[in-house]
Amino acid sequence: MNNRLYGNLIFELSRKGRKGYSLPKNRMGGYEIPSMMRRTTDAALPECDELTVVRHYTNLSLNNFGVDNGFYPLGSCTMKYNPKINEEMAALPSFLYLHPEQPTETVKGAEAVVTLLERSLCSLTGLAHFTFKPYAGAHGELTGLMTIDNYHRSHNDMGRKKVIVPDSAHGTNPASAAVCGLEVVEVKSMADGTVDVEDLKRIVSEQGTEISAMMMTNPNTLGLFEKSIPEIASLIHTCGGLMYYDGANLNPMLGTCRPGDMGFDVMHINLHKTFSTPHGGGGPGAGPVGVREGLQDFFPVVSPYHGNFSVMLRAYAYILTLGREHVKEVGSLATLNANYVKESLKDVYELPIDGLCCHEFVFDGLKDKSTGVTTMDVAKRLLDYGYHAPTIYFPLLFHESLMVEPTENESKETLDGFIAVMRRIAEEAKTTPDEVKSAPHLTPIGRVDDVLAAKHPIVTYQQLLHDKD
């Protein structure tokens, strides 16, 4: 990582007339672009030589912090290592240069990858069919809900417009339901953080004929295993609804248990999380949707293509690299790592719901609240020690949420290093609280003004110029 922020914009490096290319003269003739279609003024593009461009982007990339730099325990995001063999496979020229509009008979290899990936995902999830069209997790959720909606409509059951979502759910669940034109009904959580089955019984008895589906993650947003799924599935199926599994937290289950066996009918998988493909900064993702036998006829057409094929290719490389035996270790190692960190820190950080977690857990800030040091301060201070911050202020169930997901990749040494630093920060909160409250001190930029950033974001060069004037 850079010690100082590299903050140039490519436009600022531009010098009139400088070039990084030279195109050959057109000797063919007769292929001129008609004058009516030509620009009358030059496009406002930066003009730089090749070396300047290479240095610019290399230096920009060094501002970044990723899994390849260091520990990245960003809860709920499954920032696992992306094995380089995935990249090698995705870079094979016979895959790399495929075009989505190529005749099918010329892409048999790619077709085989899709089919084999589908078979692998079916055997890992216990579902019968997958569609690969969705481009990301939330797109998968929407596709899954549309599938369920199509299913209800197919037998003239038009009144099913309600989706039950636990109050601890990821924000995308109610958002997907709303985009699909469905209404959200919240089911409460019990004190132990899992779904309150009695509250669900009340909802089902009052609104059973209007229930389209129940959406759940398992383990849930707090990283806790939902033990009552068979009972919940039976309640929902009896009233005519379907069970939707949000694959956001599939990682700890991988190779250990399967949503299809628990009674889920439809699910999506975030290939970019559970199956080790690169993500962060918004993409590229892949959110294939799986269904129980018979429901595949109700898949909507959400895209003409097979989603992000290169992401699927990487995910398939990951599955093949692990193989049937080693894939079973993913979930248990992710669970072991999370529990190890949780148990090692719960005497200094507030653990609102004690007990075994799965792949992640949530602290409610420091145990000693008297110092005034908040979760935000702890997260900022972690940057000084070279760690990516955990997820903070999510889930909303607690005021000072700090959500840690170490993933299965990390060694005991890495986890011990993180634990030591977290304990040190807890100590600093008592001895030198101001240093924690004003962190980070050792990063290229200090504490950013997130209020100003939210109220007045500058996202384009034009806007920056305008602001400077």
């Binding site: 202020y393 909303l396 005021h399 997130d450 939210a454 109220k455």
Partner: protein, 126 residues
């Protein structure tokens, strides 16, 4: 410790309402603004919109989260606090002074469902 004002009615979703005659002034509590952190945007309804007790009528967005606003009482919006459009941080400065909407109450009996300041204070410490 979050500030609680006497003489107001409070909801479990941390809105307050001050009643004068048939008019209700609605805002979020000091506890709510403190939990939300720096408020950067308030999504306001429009005058003449109908609000229903327990239903959302807008949203407050902070650097931490976006939270729906739930109407503590039903009625018709007669005024919105337009100052919040450009200065949403007023909610952080004084959550009771900087109200969000005023409504013409349609059912005063609904007030019985809300908490008084003492009960709300206890509710917040739970």
């Amino acid at each position: 410790m979050a500030k609680v004002m006497e003489g107001l009615y409070y909801s479990e979703s941390h809105e307050w309402v001050r009643v004068e005659g048939n008019e209700g002034t609605i805002g979020i509590t000091d506890y709510a603004q403190n939990a939300l952190g720096n408020v950067v945007y308030v999504d306001l309804p429009e005058v003449d919109d109908e609000v229903e007790a327990g239903e959302e009528f807008g949203a407050v967005e902070s650097v931490k989260a976006a939270s729906d606003l739930y109407a503590p009482v039903s009625g018709t919006v007669i005024e919105v606090n337009e100052a919040l459009e450009n200065a949403p941080e007023l909610v952080n400065q004084d959550a009771y002074e900087n109200w969000i909407i005023k409504v013409e109450l349609s059912d005063k009996a609904e007030l019985e469902q809300l908490m008084d300041s003492k009960t709300y204070e206890e509710f917040c410490t739970k």
